[in-house]
C-alpha cells in the first residue's frame, strides 16, 4: 500500500524560558509511516508524547528535528516540519483532518452548519454538505431537535458527537484521531468504529490515540509504542 504519511527521525523538546530555560525532552527519533487504508494507533502511557506527535503533524506544535512528510497529491509531497503557514492551512483544508474531544463552538452557528463547514470548505455545495451533515448527526444519535441550534448549550457528550461528525464529514486523505471515543456510550462508540472502517475502505490513512481498549482492538491495524521514542535522559 502506498505511504501517505512518513515521520522521519522526528524530535521535539520544549524549552521553558520562564523556568530558567530548562529543556523538556518529549520524543526523539520518531520514525514510522502510515499507509493508505490503515489505522495506526499510538500506544504508551500518558505523558509519553502521543498527543505531541499528533500536534506536530497538524502543525499546532513545531517539529524541531527530522521531517514529517505528507502526500498531498501525486506530485506534491509536503514536509510539514518546514511548511509555511499558508501551506499548512491549505493542508488542513484538503489533506489532514483532526478529530479531537473538544468542540470549538462557533457562536451563533447551528450544529448542522458546524458539521457541514469543512465539506463546504472542500468545495461541496451547501445542499450536499447539509444533507451529509444531517446523516452523520442522525447516525451519532444527536437528537434532531438540536440540529438547528448552536451547540454552545449542548451537553458535553452531544458536543463531542457534533465534533466527531465535523471531523468525519470531509474527505481528508489523512485523519488524526485524538481520543474520539473518550466518554462515549457503547452505541456511539460502535458508530465511530463503523465510520473508521468506512474511511479505511476509502483508503484514508489514520493515526490515532485511543485509550479505549475495546475500540482500539477493533480499529487498530498496528500499534506503535511511543515509549520507544523517548529520549535517553
Amino acid at each position: 500500500m502506498p505511504v501517505r504519511l512518513y515521520l522521519n527521525s522526528v524530535g521535539k523538546s520544549f524549552v521553558m524560558h520562564l523556568q530558567d530555560g530548562i529543556s523538556l525532552p518529549v520524543v526523539s527519533n520518531v520514525d514510522f509511516a502510515v499507509e493508505t487504508g490503515e489505522c495506526v494507533v499510538l500506544g504508551g502511557p500518558s505523558g509519553a508524547g502521543k498527543s505531541s506527535i499528533l500536534k506536530m503533524i497538524y502543525g499546532n506544535y513545531r517539529c524541531d528535528e527530522g521531517q514529517i512528510l505528507v502526500v498531498r497529491g501525486p506530485d506534491d509531497i509536503v514536509n510539514i516540519a518546514d511548511a509555511a503557514p499558508r501551506r499548512m492551512l491549505a493542508l488542513r483544508q484538503d489533506t489532514i483532518g483532526y478529530v479531537s474531544q473538544f468542540l470549538r463552538v462557533i457562536p451563533r452557528v447551528s450544529a448542522v452548519d458546524v458539521v457541514a463547514e469543512p465539506l463546504i470548505g472542500q468545495g461541496a455545495d451547501e445542499r450536499t454538505a447539509t444533507a451529509r451533515a444531517r446523516e452523520l448527526l442522525a447516525r451519532l444519535n444527536v437528537p434532531e431537535g438540536l440540529w438547528s441550534l448552536p451547540p454552545a448549550t449542548f451537553s458535553g457528550g452531544e458536543q463531542q458527537r457534533v465534533n466527531i461528525a465535523r471531523g468525519f464529514i470531509a474527505n481528508y486523505p489523512v485523519l488524526l484521531l485524538d481520543e474520539p471515543t473518550a466518554s462515549l456510550d457503547a452505541a456511539n462508540r460502535a458508530v465511530v468504529v463503523e465510520l473508521v472502517d468506512e474511511k479505511k475502505a476509502q483508503g484514508v490513512a489514520m493515526l490515532g490515540i485511543l485509550h479505549d481498549l475495546d475500540v482500539r482492538e477493533r480499529i487498530a491495524d498496528r500499534i506503535i509504542d511511543v515509549t520507544n521514542f523517548r529520549q535517553a535522559a
Partner: protein
C-alpha cells in the same frame, strides 16, 4: 474568551501555489527622533489572509500599523501594494491624491475608538453613505438602500438609521464603524484594537460578526491587538512584537500553543483562564 468551548478556528484562506502577495513589506523602520518606534519589519500578506500583530503597549505595533496604512511615513523601508489592476506599487511613491483614493475605496481602517472613525453628529445612514459618495455614488435612493442593508448586516435596527452615533451604545458604534468601512468593498482592512474597551459579551458578538464578514467578503486584514483570544479567533497568522521588533511569527495556533521565544511564552502564560 479563552474557554475551549468558545474558541473557533478562523476560516480557511483560499490557497494557490502561485498567488502573489497583496502587500509586501520590506525593512520598515520608524524612529521618533532618537526613539525607536519599530525596526526592520518585513513580511508579505496574501489575499484573504488575516494577520494579527500582538504585543504589549509600547511594543511598536500601532506604529507599524500606521506606517502600513500610510498614516505615518516610515524612516526607512518599502511597502508595496497590489493595485486592482494587478500592478505592484510602492505606497510612498504614490501621489497624495492616489493614496487618498486608495484609503477611501480599497482600504478600511477600524479605530479602537469609534469616535475616531465616525462622524458622531451626523446620522448613522449618512456615516455609511458618505463613503459611498466618496466613490462616486450620487443617487440618494440607492445610497440609502445600501446603507440600510449594511446596518442590517452589522445588526443595527434599521429604524435607527437617522440617529447619530452619539445616541448609540459602544458596541453599536463599533459595528457602525465597521459598516462604514466595509460598504465600499475594500480589499484590505486595518484594525487597531477593535474590541478594546467593550464588555466581554459585546466583544464576543462583534468578533463573531467580524469573523463572518471577513470570510464572506474574502478580506485581507491586519489587526493589532493585545488580546490573544481575539488573535486566536480571527487570525491565520501572528506576529509577536517587542521593543519595536518582530520576535516571533507563524501560524496562529502554533505560536499560541507552542511559543518559542521567552517573551512569547510569557505572553501566553499570562492569559487568565476564564
Amino acid at each position: 474568551m479563552t474557554d475551549q468551548t468558545t474558541m473557533l478556528e478562523p476560516n480557511f484562506v483560499p490557497y494557490q501555489e502561485n498567488d502573489e502577495p497583496l502587500l509586501r513589506v520590506s525593512g520598515v523602520t520608524r524612529y521618533y527622533g532618537d526613539r525607536l518606534g519599530c525596526t526592520d519589519i518585513s513580511f508579505n500578506l496574501w489575499p484573504g489572509e488575516v494577520l494579527a500583530i500582538v504585543g504589549e503597549s509600547g511594543s511598536g505595533k500601532t506604529t507599524l500599523l500606521n506606517c502600513l496604512s500610510t498614516r505615518l511615513a516610515p524612516t526607512a523601508g518599502a511597502i508595496e501594494y497590489r493595485m486592482r489592476d494587478g500592478s505592484m506599487r510602492d505606497l510612498y511613491q504614490l501621489t497624495e491624491a492616489d493614496r487618498r483614493l486608495l484609503m477611501r475605496t480599497d482600504w478600511g481602517f477600524v479605530h479602537q475608538s469609534p469616535a475616531d472613525g465616525l462622524r458622531m453628529t451626523v446620522s448613522a445612514g449618512a456615516n455609511v453613505g458618505e463613503r459611498l459618495m466618496a466613490v462616486g455614488n450620487r443617487h440618494y435612493g440607492n445610497i440609502r438602500a445600501t446603507a440600510t442593508d449594511w446596518l442590517e448586516r452589522v445588526e443595527i435596527a434599521t429604524d435607527r438609521i437617522d440617529d447619530p452615533p452619539r445616541a448609540f451604545s459602544g458596541g453599536m458604534r463599533q459595528r457602525l464603524q465597521i459598516a462604514r468601512n466595509l460598504v465600499t468593498h475594500p480589499r484590505l482592512v486595518f484594525m487597531d484594537e477593535p474590541t478594546g474597551g467593550l464588555d466581554v459579551s459585546v466583544q464576543a458578538r462583534l468578533l463573531d460578526m467580524m469573523r463572518r464578514l471577513v470570510a464572506d467578503l474574502g478580506l485581507s486584514v491586519i489587526i493589532v491587538t493585545h488580546d490573544l483570544a481575539v488573535a486566536r479567533l480571527l487570525s491565520h497568522r501572528i506576529m509577536v512584537m517587542r521593543h519595536g521588533k518582530v520576535i516571533e511569527t507563524g501560524l496562529t495556533d502554533q505560536v499560541l500553543d507552542d511559543p518559542r521565544e521567552p517573551y512569547s511564552q510569557l505572553l501566553v502564560s499570562s492569559i487568565l483562564q476564564a
